[in-house]
Amino acid sequence: MTRFQPDRRELLAGAFATGALTLGGTSLAHARTANDRKLVVVILRGAMDGLAALIPAAEPRYRDLRQDLAISGGFDVGEGFRLHPRLTNLHRFWNDRELVLLPATATGYRERSHFDGQDYLEAGSQVIRDGWLNRALQVSANRPTSVGIGQTVPLILRGDAATTSWSPGILPDPSDGTIERLMDLYAGDSRLAETLAMAVETDAIADGMLMNDMGTGGGGPGQAYLQTARAAANLLAAPDGPGLAVISLDGWDTHVRQGSDDGQLANRLGALDAALAILRDGLQAQWSDTAVLVLTEFGRTVRANGSGGTDHGTAGTAFLLGGAVRGGRLIGDWPGLDTLHEDRDLVPANRTENLCRTVLAEHWGLDRRALDQRVFPGLGSSGFRGLIG
């Protein structure tokens, strides 16, 4: 097992950042307003093939195992790894030292159901039934506001802390008078009353920003990804915009002909790459205070299946990027391809929750004990350090 070592300069900076966060119980984040430290969580639904996104090109068995799925091109990121050739913006983030790569990562979930896998990723546990981001909001002293891009609040954001959802619409708005009367009508239905109040608030923020080219028209996965990313960037960048946004990009379940340098999965990775660039361009001034987590429920089989695709696997790849990130490096352990989990999947050598926990600690300055007790209970103490700062 290889361990990617942070260099000395990074270690020092990491230690400094951690110290600063705990000194006197305040932090950089707390010194400013609640929504200044932007966090975006991107959920890739359907299980992205992590070995296609971050290619372990130097592994002796790589070509043998992947066969037609083996990728020839890509961008060298050291340690024997390459980024997929369509991830051109991620390569720029990498060169700008704004991208951290975590290979061979998985949540604690060890079965292969998308639905349970996504629930685990979003709840941070098999037994808890609310979202870990919502629990993070609950333990945060300054309570950033949050939004799920889409019609409903995704599980990762659900829970006792107030949160909302938003997507661009096409019909004219009802009058304020109608909304007021509806509020009165919902007096006896607290659930509807609360939901409507949150919707009205987010709509007001959205109305205050330039909503050009944000139609809901079709145009393939690329267009849908871009629209989602643009909606998130516009909301986050608004003067009274939220500090946390969650977006879901689906369609990663590549069971058939996923392709290699080109093809179906390559196109999707290209669309993801473009969406991430939209976040940076849309956030502009706030980008230096932004961290973006890109997560998926699990990885896919190392070998191709019988139809040129991959089936549900275990470990995959996670990205952390943003102007606030101390990037340009790989983190975690790398198990190699000599031994496979259950003779089919990449061995889960790292825990995705550890990455999330570190981001909450270092980016939002959340108390580590609260994180261990409330947000990710039972995760254990090992984690990553010095990812933000």
């Binding site: 639904r45 359907g46 079965e111 292969r112 159901s113 998308h114 639905f115 349970d116 799920g148 889409g150 019609q151 409903t152 609040v153 659900r158 909302t164 959802s165 938003w166 997507s167 619409g169 096409i170 019909l171 004219p172 708005d173 009802p174 009058s175 008078g177 109608t178 909304i179 009367r181 509806l182 009165d184 009508l185 919902y186 007096a187 006896g188 239905d189 659930r191 509807l192 939901t195 409507l196 949150m198 919707a199 009205v200 987010t202 709509d203 809901t216 689906d250 369609g251 379940d253 069971h255 058939v256 299946n305 019988g306 139809s307 695709g309 089936d311 549900h312 259950e342």
Partner: protein, 456 residues
């Protein structure tokens, strides 16, 4: 029989009341439900392609145009691309219009809801160009004719329909030890097998292993769609065929049971076994109770439905009886938040709208967030308020209700309409709010956005 039971029958188990419908049923709500069991209203199939026609149409119209664009021989690539989009949209738009129009005019709303439940249970969706044409045929051909038969027959019809074989990749799955498997390195695709166990029969906690998934995938090999490359006969093209040449030879063990029948019988035998497992009864009963009664159904309701499933070996007509006879079936408070499509249909029915321009229908479904045949995953559409009742979703419903009311204009008449469409379920507070509204249009918006209309 009380009035409230009639209102519940039509709004909770049916598809929403048209003005006049509650009065006609009067106090006989339960009988009205029971009479519908086994009765399936005929859909107008004019202009609808079946699965085989869809596949042939795709091969004859779509593929040559796409090839022309790709190899640069298309005269006008821009127009040709638009044409491709039109071909794909034409398939689903006609099916959506036909099934929506049926829902808007039918007198058997419970039967339609029952069909839609099973269609969603065996969800297939538009995830690729061929599926744009194929997905809508599944409900029509596999679900509708079997919705009141035996669960095992519905299961076999649903899994072996071309749309499912294509959607979950079984059409491409090849037995690793079959001749094509050994010679050309093609092999197993476990997608359909996994979802059958997880989503269609046992449920994710139903006690199966990765080995069981592989065994079922092997049993399913050979079930594919007739095509030219494999030299199937003209009659087989575009239809489900069993092709023994790609079937995995030999017997397989699934859940401890050995399946060694003739190659062609293996998958149907395995599906029949899965249909009879008690875990399947539990899984189906829970989903039915969640869909018709409450997001978090009471254990007694699940137990009641489950017992009927086991006692009748999955007789779906008996199961429909069990759902409406469950202890919690007629609790007065509405415990279900309508899905966007249920909401749209009930709102149109409330306004006596039975004809829609396809563009208006498509736009409304898109705005509300649920386009038929586009469920986000093989699990189908979600079925709880936490999934559908988000702040933005509520806002989109309000925009939609507001627009309907604006178009209704003088025809809004919310004070008469409230009791007509909600009967005894109309709450005093809503009636007061409507009476005090500043216009009839606003009153109608409030009626369509009232808690008792958003829920069922």
């Amino acid at each position: 029989m009380s009035r409230i039971e009639t209102a519940i029958a039509v709004t909770r188990f049916g598809i929403g009341a048209q003005p006049g419908e509650l009065a006609a049923i009067d106090g006989h709500g339960r009988d009205w439900l029971v009479d519908q069991i086994g009765r399936i209203d005929a859909i107008d199939r004019t202009g609808l392609r079946d699965a085989r026609e869809s596949i042939v149409y795709f091969r004859q119209e779509y593929q040559p145009r796409l090839a022309a664009i790709q190899n640069g021989t298309a005269e006008n690539p821009g127009t040709a691309r638009d044409e491709l989009g039109r071909i794909l949209r034409s398939g689903s738009a006609a099916h959506i219009a036909a099934r929506t129009e049926l829902a808007l005019r039918t007198g058997t709303g419970f039967s339609e809801r029952w069909i839609r439940f099973w269609s969603n249970h065996f969800s297939v969706a538009i995830t690729s160009p061929p599926m744009a044409l194929l997905a809508p045929t599944h409900e029509l051909e596999a679900i509708r004719p079997n919705a009141f038969g035996r669960f095992e027959d519905l299961l076999i019809a649903a899994e072996l329909h071309p749309a499912m074989l294509f959607y979950l990749d079984n059409a491409q799955s090849v037995g690793p030890n079959s001749r094509p498997g050994r010679r050309r390195g093609r092999g197993l695709n476990e997608n359909l097998a996994r979802e059958i166990l997880e989503l269609h029969t046992l449920g994710v906690d139903g006690g199966y292993s990765q080995d069981d998934i592989v065994s079922l995938a092997k049993l399913l090999t050979g079930w594919t769609i007739g095509n030219e490359q494999m030299r199937h006969s003209d009659d087989q093209i575009g239809r489900t065929v069993f092709d023994g040449r790609i079937h995995e030879p030999g017997a397989q063990t699934l859940l401890g049971q050995r399946f060694g029948g003739t190659a062609r019988d293996q998958a149907p035998d395995a599906l029949r076994m899965l249909a009879r497992r008690p875990q399947t009864a539990t899984f189906i009963a829970t989903k039915l109770a969640r869909h018709f009664i409450a997001d978090t159904p009471d254990a007694v309701d699940i137990a009641h439905i489950r017992a009927r499933f086991i006692a009748t070996d999955g007789d779906l007509a008996a199961l429909a009886q069990a759902v409406i006879a469950a202890p919690g079936a007629f609790t007065p408070e509405p415990r279900k938040f309508k899905t966007p499509e249920e909401y749209l249909v009930s709102a149109f029915r409330a306004l006596n709208i039975t004809q829609l321009r396809p563009r208006a229908l498509g736009g409304s479904l898109r705005a509300l967030g649920q386009i038929p045949f586009r469920a986000p995953s093989p699990a189908g559409w979600p079925d709880t308020e936490s999934e559908w009742g988000g702040p933005d979703a509520l806002m989109k419903r309000l925009d939609f209700a507001n627009e309907l009311a604006r178009r209704a204009g003088a025809n809004a008449r919310p004070r008469e309409r409230g009791p007509q469409i909600l009967g005894s379920r109309l709450q005093g507070g809503t009636a007061l709010a409507i009476a005090a509204a500043e216009s009839a249009e606003q009153g109608l918006t409030l009626l369509l956005m009232s808690p008792e209309f958003l829920r069922r």
